[in-house]
Subunit: 175 residues, 2 copies
């Protein structure tokens, strides 16, 4: 059975590194970068926090791509800021069209101080500063089920293999 | 009525510049870079000329994205090496799912010498050298209908507006 991994969390937490590292572990896999899907819109573009319509179009696109990849017998890794209600809608669409698939939802998490530290390590143009912290609040205010949170504050880049194993095997991340 | 523009041609001919420039002309538009869609596959990736299966998966993904964008009332610009038979399959899928849409197919073309010159101007890691010329032969051997060819050998970057107008208005590019 193929699996769709939704790797979420605030900006700067390490979604891309984790997602790409996970994707290369599989013989057959696809990596979907939500930010990139979102930026396919050129004329009339608005950032996701300013347009519900474009955000839901992005999720529709992510879902259709995921369905095609799963039907081609691949595991799918989605790297995007995914809130609980988006994951719920997404999973309904997936289960309606694909019978044999499992969805894993992981919200990478760190202490605020560590998040700011990691954000400062990114390329200048990717740094979000205090907006990272707003995103953390968003997850909490949108009632994230604690079992999907994966606190990586005390994990180092050298612990990535442990992180991959945990994402793949820990039953509390199963959606 | 919305339009899907398929901007094709050999590597190095100017597909990206033309496609991105065209995309920003519209109030509502989306830009789909075929190479990027193709590279979503990580585990088991093969280049399009080595795997018919992955190439047709890429076209399925491009089609599903295009349908979503058109249904969201956007013009779509596809930037990819698109051969006649791929465009035919793609357009059948589109017309089956969307009633009110027009497809434009343009194969940008230049003399061999000019193609090599333009290729040499690209970032080193994007340069394809003589493989550009093989791609030109591929278009010819796959029986491209001459009316879709747009020879830009004597056009300069300053002529881009003329190119955009021609792509949008010239009836011979209508698929």
């Amino acid at each position: 059975m193929n699996t769709i991994y939704i790797i979420s969390g605030p900006a700067g937490v390490g979604k891309s590194t984790t997602s790409k590292g996970l994707a290369v572990q599989f013989d057959n896999s696809a990596y979907i970068e939500g930010d990139f899907i979102n930026h396919m819109v050129i004329g009339g573009y608005l950032p996701p926090w300013e347009s519900e319509e474009l955000l839901s179009l992005t999720w529709e696109n992510i879902a259709d791509l995921s369905i095609n990849f799963v039907q081609a017998n691949m595991n799918v890794i989605i790297d995007y800021v995914a809130f609980p209600e988006e994951v719920e809608k997404f999973s309904q669409k997936i289960y309606a069209e694909v019978k044999s698939v499992e969805i894993i939802y992981v919200v990478l998490w760190v202490d605020s101080a560590e998040l700011l530290r990691r954000d400062a390590l990114r390329f200048k143009e990717h740094q979000m500063g205090v907006r990272c912290l707003e995103l953390m609040n968003d997850f909490e205010s949108k009632g994230i089920d604690k079992r999907f949170l994966y606190n990586t504050t005390y994990l180092q880049p050298s612990d990535l293999d442990e992180i991959f194993l945990n994402i793949r095997e820990n039953p509390s991340f199963k959606y």
